[in-house]
């Protein structure tokens, strides 16, 4: 659920642990990843402004949208930008990522942000050099969070763009350095899952502690649907979808959640799942055996069972359990019961066996009743 993700990001990192990291994945079937990203950004900003979150500021690394977009967006969503320079700064990798505009010195309109703009936006021109990017992020963050132990959050607009300019291992290196830095409280990023190889997606999921993926409402797998049906499905998918979240918890379990979302004029809305489809974890079910072990209670009960023909070994007179009486019948009855039983046994044995030994040199062992070994 989106609420729990935002809560997770708000709570931030514990001492000595990696910062929580959220990966938002979308695809062309549900291209609303940026809406989810904006939603998370808004929530985190609100939490920072209200002082409820661990982090003191956000460093937004903008690859796919310009800083002015973010200024407008935050304004329209009711985030107060008066003191914005104290808690948010944008690393602008959108305007001139590779420094081309800069090298074409001429009458180009290099519109930089003037001082009266509400958010501090620093132009970054070397997206291929991820070490430089990392140090720029840290520098900006430390400026926001102050000199002490204050922490800040990092959000990356589009990791897909980063992967265009740099190799997977260097991007992974950067993300893991971000996560393990002791001044970073939380981090989140967006990527388009259909633009990458499976290995790249797997690597980014490996590095994140929460994965939110957007999926279309109904996957139209049946290719024989009519055109009208397809159109209606497309229309449905154009505004709604499912948001699946997998959160890696500290105890090693994974929390799997699912929500519906729909896009409206004002933004994105999350609602709990309308139809209950059981998530069957078939892959996880191994061949289980039947329960052959006993719980404590069962073990105690077993110890209490009086086996027939067994010398209980506790000095009591022989008590042959005939299965009809329960053990809870008083011990004073036991003496009378045992004599009764012995008599009935004698009475029931009416026949006699007469045995003539075949020869004298027969081994004496064969005479012995094999039941002698039993403790009757």
């Amino acid at each position: 659920m989106a609420e729990s993700i935002c809560r997770n990001l708000r709570d931030g990192a514990l001492e000595g642990e990696h910062a929580p990291a959220l990966s938002i994945k979308d695809s062309i079937a549900t291209p609303f990843g940026s809406d989810v990203f904006n939603y998370v950004l808004t929530k985190l900003s609100a939490n920072i402004l209200a002082g409820k979150s661990q982090s003191k500021g956000i460093v937004l690394v903008a690859f796919s949208r310009s800083p002015s977009f973010y200024v407008d967006f935050l304004k329209t969503n009711g985030i107060d930008l008066v003191s914005a320079k104290k808690w948010i700064s944008i690393l602008d990798c959108y305007t001139d990522p590779l420094g081309w505009k800069d090298s074409l010195k001429g009458p180009l309109d290099t519109k930089n942000f003037s001082l009266k703009d509400p958010i501090e936006a620093v132009l970054f021109r070397h997206v291929r050099n991820l070490d430089l990017l990392f140090s720029a992020i840290i520098e900006m963050g430390e400026a926001l969070a102050g000199q002490g132990k204050g922490r800040f959050s990092v959000s990356i607009d589009l990791v897909t763009e980063m992967l265009r300019h740099a190799s997977l291992s260097s991007v992974a290196n950067l993300l893991s350095k971000v996560r393990s830095h002791d001044r970073i409280s939380s981090t989140f990023w967006l990527l388009h899952s259909d633009l990458h190889e499976i290995r790249a997606i797997a690597a980014l999921e490996y590095l994140s502690s929460m994965v939110g993926s957007l999926e279309p409402m109904n996957l139209s797998l049946n290719g024989q649907r009519g055109d009208l049906e397809k159109l209606s499905l497309l229309e449905q998918n154009s505004r709604k979808g499912k948001f699946h979240v997998r959160i890696k918890r500290r105890n090693g379990r994974v929390r799997v959640m699912c929500e519906d979302f729909h896009i409206e004029q004002s933004g994105i809305n999350f609602t709990p799942v309308s139809s209950e489809e059981g998530i069957i974890n078939q892959g996880l079910l191994p061949k289980v055996q039947f329960n052959l072990q006993l719980s404590e209670k069962e073990r105690i009960d077993r110890a209490k069972v009086v086996l027939p023909f067994e010398h209980q070994g506790n000095g009591e007179p022989l008590h042959i359990y005939d299965g009809r009486r329960s053990l809870s019948e008083g011990k004073d009855e036991k003496a009378s019961v045992s004599t009764e039983n012995l008599q009935t046994n004698e009475d029931s044995g009416k026949g006699e066996i007469i045995y003539f030994r075949d020869s004298d040199d027969e081994m004496p062992d064969s005479d012995e009743d094999p039941d002698d070994d039993l403790d009757i």
Partner: protein, 365 residues
């Protein structure tokens, strides 16, 4: 009947092959192998004694859960407690920091005996009414008088207590970070140098070594897209290990490799384990398995090393649940299906109604 005459044959069993290990923490096993403990008593039992010297153990991680760290921690701690040399490599910047999280062995007797008692009760199994039983005295305690942890083959580790400092500052630990180097040549040389200390010859073993490599193909390492290089590294490590009195444990997340690479790595291992995460608060799983509340993950044993023998080890069960007893001790248990409720079990309803399904008229049995 005629008594069996003992046949005198010209073959005699050669029993004096394996050198008796004098170093602590080693135990000899069948077929001339020498085992060292994995640090987890249940795992040693499952694998038939432990990890054989000279073998390569690979653990397939689940990207969603850190259970491989638990296995590594116990493995490394056990080595340090037995004064064995350790080489630890990880993709983090500061691998030494991980040593601070190693667990300490449990020393108090009360904890141990409490853990052992339910086991002993179960080992009684069938109660046979046998008249000679009354001649037995009190059952002998299983462990001998020397409970000195130095001589114990496998310790129970308390995951909440960190290992004492004096173990960590010893000279026999080598830590490496494999994140930065662009290729594996330096790492391979380091391993070769480390393993040269324990090369095998026919004399008795003075010391054994442990190599622990964590998350070998982690994406933040520079070499992680050079799949053939990584494979050739593992191959050469396996060759070096075979020739020395050491055990190497490598953990890797198989989903980060290409499928063919992943298969190759799985085949190259002598012992292959995998850990899996379980979903949290899953009602279906809770109904299906007993003890779901305490489980933190699943462990699968895919392959067990068979050294010096052609007879494979076939385990009764290959999937175990990982539980933390009292949040301290790592325990592996067989998975048990919870008793199925007769009225609601859907999978059983179909098999139960065998009479109802045959409506074939005349031949009704």
């Amino acid at each position: 009947m005629a008594a069996m005459k003992t046949r005198m044959s010209s073959f005699s069993r050669n029993t004096s092959v394996a050198p008796v290990p004098q170093a602590p923490g080693l135990k000899s096993g069948p077929n001339g192998t020498i085992f060292l403990s994995s640090g987890i008593p249940d795992l040693d039992k499952i694998l038939g004694g432990g990890f054989p010297l000279g073998s390569l153990v690979m653990v397939m991680e689940d990207t969603e859960a850190p259970h491989h760290m638990l296995l590594l921690r116990n493995f490394m701690s056990q080595g340090l407690v037995h004064n064995q040399h350790l080489l630890y490599a990880s993709p983090s910047k500061d691998p030494r920091a991980f040593l601070g999280t190693l667990p300490s062995p449990v020393l108090s007797k009360d904890d141990r005996s409490h853990n052992r008692d339910p086991e002993q009760l179960q080992e009684r199994g069938l109660r046979i009414a046998w008249q000679y039983k009354k001649y037995f005295g009190e059952p002998q305690p299983n462990f001998d008088s020397h409970r000195d942890t130095k001589h114990e083959y496998c310790n129970d580790f308390d995951l909440r207590k960190p290992l004492e400092r004096h173990f960590l500052t010893a000279q026999n630990i080598c830590c490496l970070s494999i994140q930065d180097p662009p290729n594996l040549a330096a790492f391979r040389d380091c391993c070769a140098k480390f393993l040269a200390q324990f090369s095998r010859n026919n004399s008795s073993i003075s010391c054994a070594g442990r190599v622990a490599i964590q998350s070998f193909c982690a994406p933040q390492c520079e070499y992680s897209n050079m799949e053939w290089d990584m494979l050739s590294f593992i191959r050469s490590l396996k060759g070096m290990i075979r020739d020395s009195n050491a055990v190497a444990v490598i953990t890797f997340p198989p989903s980060l490799l290409s499928p063919s690479s992943s298969k190759r790595w799985q085949h190259i291992a002598d012992t292959l384990l995998s850990v899996k995460a379980i979903p949290d608060e899953d009602k279906e799983l809770a109904n299906l398995l007993t003890g779901y509340q305490d489980m933190i993950g699943l462990l699968n044993v895919h392959k067990v090393a068979n050294v010096n023998t052609q007879v494979p080890v076939i385990l009764e069960a290959t999937t175990f649940s990982i539980k933390l007893q009292k949040r301290r001790h790592l325990v592996l248990e067989c998975l048990n299906q919870a008793p199925v409720d007769g009225s609601s079990g859907s999978s059983y309803a179909s098999t139960g109604s065998c009479s109802g399904s045959t409506k074939t008229g005349t031949l009704d049995f």
